[in-house]
């Protein structure tokens, strides 16, 4: 038992080191001078004198062509990730609720249609999606940035599993108590599934935050440049890339998703592992 613990811990420590190393290089690299990476003598020891770079990066306006600073891009990304996460949860909650608790004609068909869209991620339908969004006049605004990403089969499927695991008697007890469908959703289903909600929110927030291809297409105006786009725009082969600024910006871009994970950590783990309702 003891020796196996020791082995498990070794594996865990190696795993942690593997994951932490790139992050460490990023943070350490941000505090060095701009030429350190290109010269190839990047030190793994952060330079305390260079800590100001993070503040500088936050206000740095050279990233996008029109000079929106990094904090603005963080805001755009945050808004996008929030709208996507909340929108996805809202839509899929209602669709899963309908599929699980109501008997309506073509219910199976509706469910399988939703299921089918799993095979059509944004990348596959990017051209038609863009055509629709642009005809709706949604290019270069938050609606266009988020709407095509909101329809979600994954979240619907997950909620369907969660709802289907609720005991039938719970539904029936609520019906006898006089709860209508929406009352039941609000008073019983949501509180009982709040751990699953939190877990899904974390996953969807990170998904939204990391979006690259779609914002690249639909947010051509600098006012809607997300942080992920901003970072790539900072790296250009034609001119000297300020690597320390890039590293600092990347660090800043990492903070919001990490915060979301930390805040919802306990609910997240419970939502993914809890079976008993």
């Amino acid at each position: 038992m003891k020796s196996r613990n020791w082995f498990a811990h070794t594996v865990l420590v190696i795993g942690v080191l593997l994951f932490i190393l790139p992050v460490w290089v990023m943070v350490a690299g941000a505090t060095q001078d701009a030429g350190a990476i290109t010269r190839g003598d990047l030190s793994l020891i952060p330079n305390p004198a260079g800590l100001g770079i993070f503040w500088q990066a936050l206000c740095f306006g050279g990233a996008s062509k029109a000079g929106y600073p990094v904090w603005h891009m963080l805001l755009v990304s945050f808004a996008m990730a929030m709208v996507i996460a909340i929108g996805k949860i809202f839509i899929s909650l209602l669709s899963a609720f309908a599929v699980v608790f109501f008997r309506f004609p073509l219910r199976k068909l509706a469910f399988w249609t939703i299921f089918l869209t799993l095979m059509l991620p944004v990348e596959v339908r990017i051209i038609p999606s863009f055509a629709v969004v642009s005809q709706l006049g949604l290019v270069n605004n938050l609606g266009g940035l988020t709407l095509p990403l909101i329809a979600s089969a994954t979240a619907t499927l997950l909620f369907r599993q969660v709802f289907a695991a609720l005991p039938d008697e719970l539904v029936e007890a609520a019906r006898l108590d006089g709860a209508g469908p929406l009352q039941f959703l609000w008073d019983i289903v949501l509180p009982v599934c709040r751990a699953n909600l939190a877990a899904l929110f974390v996953i969807l927030f990170v998904y939204g935050w990391n979006q690259y291809l779609w914002p690249l297409l639909v947010a051509s105006s600098p006012a809607y440049t997300t942080i992920v786009l901003g970072i790539t725009q900072m790296i250009s082969p034609e001119q000297m890339t300020p690597w320390n600024l890039v590293m600092a910006t990347t660090t800043l871009a990492l903070i919001p998703p990490v915060l979301v994970v930390i805040v919802l950590n306990r609910a997240f783990v419970r939502g993914l592992t809890e079976v008993d309702k």
Partner: protein
Amino acid sequence: MATLELQNIAKNFGDTAVLQALDLKLASGEMLVIVGASGCGKSTLLRLVAGLETPSGGKILLDGVDITAADPAKRDIAMVFQNYALYPHMSVAQNMGYALKLRGLSKTDITAKVEQAAEMLGLTPLLGRRPGALSGGQRQRVAMGRAIVRQPKLFLFDEPLSNLDAKLRVSMRAEIRRLQKSLRVTAMYVTHDQTEAMTMADRLIVMNAGKAEQIGTPMEVFARPATLFVAQFLGAPAMNTLLPLKAGLTDAPEGAMLGIRPEDILVGETGLAMAIDLVEPLGSETLIHGRLACGQSLTLRRAGGPPEGSQIFVSLPDQKRHYFDAATGARL
């Protein structure tokens, strides 16, 4: 206090008839127990009354009002479920008050009613707890309390005691009955346990394969079972059944099956010879299993008994015999 009437109620799931043409009347304040093996349609019957299923035919009248198509919430019926079905995220008080809250009662009214019901059930110290922190018996009480606070016209119990241990079951059984009597509320109680059925019922209905085999008071049903199924379902150990001619009892009607309860068999110096192959002492009484000379087995219930392997002579008194049609099972 309400009367319930079922007229020609039937229920099919697809092609299978779960319930066939059932007529039933409950007087006000009456406790009707529905008993039967699993799959006999007893739970379905309860769910039809609750409105959780819609009947394929027939009518349900509560206090003379047709509620066949009414929404469950509008029926003024409360149900206690087998697995309690408490809301896991609500405290005991919230669980009990939820229906009242949905009816738009004021907070003070809800608190008063919940506290009154909690007092009745001895739940007062637990009002702030979540169901997860309660024992099985306590959860059962909360489920009862949730039904009581609503002061419904009709109580439905769906095997409410089957998740409890044997000892608790006996005390809860008496408690439910006492409560139902003191509240004088009409109730339907589903169980597969024949002791529960016998002890709790004003009247009981024995169901088999979607049909009511017999409806009557427990003692009526026990003393004069209408069919072979009823005879064997009620009473523990079950009624003995014999082919009388094979055993040499020539005074039996043609084509009949003879039934006799284990406690009604007499042991004497003469009669049918029986070889004892198993003796089960239960303390206050002893069960004696054995075989007649013809090979048919018989069980006796007596205060004490001879040892295994010995032979005794038994007689089956005429007035204690039940005869059933061997083909249809109907009482002769």
